[in-house]
Amino acid sequence: MIFSSYPYLVFLALVVIIFRLLEARLPSLKRAFLLLASLVFYAWWRADFLLLLLGSTIVNFFIGRAITSSVESKRSPRMLLIGGLIFNLGLIAWFKYAGLFAATTNGLFGTTLPIPHLFLPLAISFFTFEQISYLVDASQRRAPKYALLDYSLFVSFFPHLIAGPIIRHNDLIPQFAKDRGRDDRDNDLALGVTLFTIGLAKKTLIADNIAPFSDAVFAAAHQGTSIGLVDAWMGTLFFAFQIYFDFSGYTDMALGSAAMLGIRLPFNFNSPYKATSIIEFWRLWHISLSTFLRDYLYIPLGGNRHGAARRYLNIFITMLLGGLWHGASWTFMIWGGLHGAYLIINHAWRNLLKAAGLSTPSRLQPLTHALSVLLTFLAVIFAWTVFRADSFSAAHLMIAGLVGMGGHSRLLTFGWPAGAAFTALFTLIWFAPNSMEITWRLRPALQPPRKDAGVRDIGLWKWSPSPVSAIAFGLLFVVSVMALSNLSPFIYFQF
């Protein structure tokens, strides 16, 4: 079920109504009901893959239990953990990467391995990662023994199931036991509908409306058209806006849906295009993924504990694998590699400045800040061309277009409508408050993992549950719903 669809709106309304009734009358049933609702939500897409989700959940639950028991009885859980990792990574490798592996092997070595054309189970990247984190935590005494119902609900809880935010067991499961009074329920619902509306508007009013323009340019590149300078820049910029509003809109809807049920999900976006460096960008973009990669990949690889060279290598490997996590295509890996290279340059530059004792004079700080934001944005959108391109040749055509070495395609026109659209979009990403800042008064998400990625105080822009804001958001909701007619799934649903 896509969040920006009529079935989901009906589904969500029914779930919230029934959940509130159960909370008030039969609280012992509310978790079982949420689990049932989550399974229905997943089965709406394809009922047969429900078995995969349930199978993965049950296997991981019992491996986790066995690990916890081993740790409690002071036995090494190593083999169990390795077994669990093999199970999870094997599952994702088979469904997601087997085709890529076979095709690449055939291409490189002239072999004739059969290329499996498997249907990618929805959300597999997300529920696999979440369960890996549970097993690792269990092996390090950081996970208690949970009831099967709680654990299953942690994995399948519908607001985060399909495309995150990636959440840890210990952040979510304790919230299931929370009892809410009527005022809390109303506050949560008011917050939830507001956040959901912001996300829906980002998706249907912005992302879906600019998608055709970026699609046109990237599709032409995919078909071998040599892309002109204007087309390349417009296509790339439109995609940069599309993916931000699409994914952060999805996240707002996920957080809003969960908030209506009294649950807080992780902070996932904090105006990433305002970042002044790539290091900061990854503290503001898809925060739950970057935190996961840091805690379960970068740090186990050695993090920054073995000198600068090893640290840079660890960063690079982490970003490469983070890129590949997005999909079974080498373009995703190159995208990750590009960001790895950016991060290494960024860290090295910082170290150099620190060693030289250089800092920006205070009167130049606004200028350097603006230039830093611009440079970071340019680096990010350059990498997006590789991310979005369907093939290396398409990426090459797009990059050639960006640097003025492409063709003379005239797919898009840079007239006043495009100028007005870009002005509005840049204003939104660089100057407008984000959804977290707007609704932070009622804590719409878990605390950001880093203090330096905290939430700005936006003064008067802060949302409060007044009738005027209710009317404004009610209108925004209706306008966003009216735009639902062109159903396009979220970009991150494919991962």
């Binding site: 009738p467 958001f473 007619s485």
Partner: protein, 368 residues
């Protein structure tokens, strides 16, 4: 307490507006579908991708026209139905893509009432790139998936699109506005100022459109040809009649295509012809393929000092509904009176030579 008041206003405002919009859409939909000139709204550009699948499902026509704006403007059911004594539906959408055209063909073939499908071939060559779908297209509204299976929950999508989408609101509002401007007993054909399809090309329009098409050339592209073959495959077991045609752009435009890339233009037509021949040899269904792009009674029209308004065209590539009637008569009845324009390639023993003749025709046109 503040939150409760907020929720009251939020849901109150949203609910009231949704109710108002749904009520308007229901009323407007009924008004358009029951209006004497209502079918002419199918020739209008708006959010037709949103509403036409729902209208198509309701009207249950005998004959359906699929294609781009060249189809949308050429076939007015209000004109066709009384003449041909059939119920027709214009499924043309502005800037239709090859993929959309294939999907609309599939939708038409899946509708049991449809006995005849007429398809304009320009979506299989038009457009420099690429976009698989246009704004507002949603295949969940079509009867079958692209693999040919019934679309799950289709009634749901049709209903929500029809009564609860911004596209439907826009198209309904436009339709009601246009019909309300017609005088008592007036038809769309009498008001070209309202229904653009009926307006006539002038010299200014001709020049403007020709300037826009300076560099246009036509050549078969792999992905579009693959959609064309998929369209034919979808029709293989279809029991009704199928007519495909190369639309009669004004020869000034055709000559430009030939001048820019004669080989590509000819290759496109021959590729289509080969695909159709292959289909006809293999399938129960037989497609009749017409070519109206040659120098003929329609395409050779020129505007002059004494002939300042076109008889056939709204602009150099869009023919008017009366011209659409001529095309239809030519295809459906093979009327001798209309045999002076268009070639039925599938019954033409010299089809390849006739396609090649376009070079000579373009040269003659340039000299005249």
């Amino acid at each position: 307490m503040a939150a409760r008041r907020y929720l009251f206003w939020f849901f109150g405002v949203a609910g009231a507006i949704v109710l108002a919009i749904v009520t308007f859409n229901i009323a407007a939909d009924a008004y358009i579908l029951n209006n004497r000139a209502g079918a002419s709204v199918e020739t209008v550009s708006g959010f037709e991708r949103v509403l036409k699948p729902a209208w198509f499902d309701t009207i249950k026509p005998d004959i359906v026209f699929v294609g781009s704006s060249r189809v949308r403007m050429a076939f007015d059911p209000a004109l066709i139905d009384p003449t041909f004594h059939m119920k027709s539906f214009n499924y043309g959408v502005s800037s239709a893509t090859a993929y959309e055209t294939r999907r609309y063909i599939q939708d038409a073939a899946a509708q049991p009432s449809v006995k005849t499908i007429v398809v304009s071939l320009d979506p299989f060559e038009d457009g420099e790139a690429s976009q698989p779908i246009g704004a507002g297209f949603d295949e969940l509204r079509l009867a079958v998936t692209k693999a040919g299976a019934p679309t799950p929950h289709r009634d749901w999508w049709l209903t929500t699109s029809r009564y609860l989408s911004g596209g439907a609101l826009g198209m309904h509002a436009l339709g009601v506005y246009l019909l309300a401007r017609l005088g008592p007993n007036q038809s769309a054909s009498e008001r070209p100022d309202i229904f653009e399809a009926y307006s006539r090309m002038t010299t200014a329009i001709f020049r403007h459109e020709m300037d826009r098409r300076n560099d246009r050339a036509i050549a078969p592209r792999a992905w579009q040809m693959s959609e064309l073959r998929a369209s034919l495959a979808a029709l293989c077991n279809y029991r009704g009649a199928v007519y495909w045609y190369f639309p009669p752009d004004n020869f000034a435009v055709i000559a430009r295509y030939v001048s820019n890339d004669a080989d590509g233009f000819i290759a496109f037509k021959k590729t289509v012809l080969a695909a159709v021949r292959d289909h006809n040899a293999k399938c129960m269904n037989k497609v009749r393929l017409f070519d109206f792009t040659n120098l003929n009674a329609i395409t050779r029209e020129r505007l002059t000092a004494s002939h300042t308004q076109s008889t056939f065209y709204e602009d150099p590539i869009h023919v008017r509904p009366p011209t659409g009637m001529m095309l239809l008569r030519r295809m459906l009845t093979s009327a001798k009176a209309d045999a002076h324009f268009g070639i039925e390639l599938t019954r033409d023993p010299h089809a390849d030579a006739d396609i090649d003749a376009i070079r000579a025709q373009a040269a003659a046109w340039a000299k005249s």
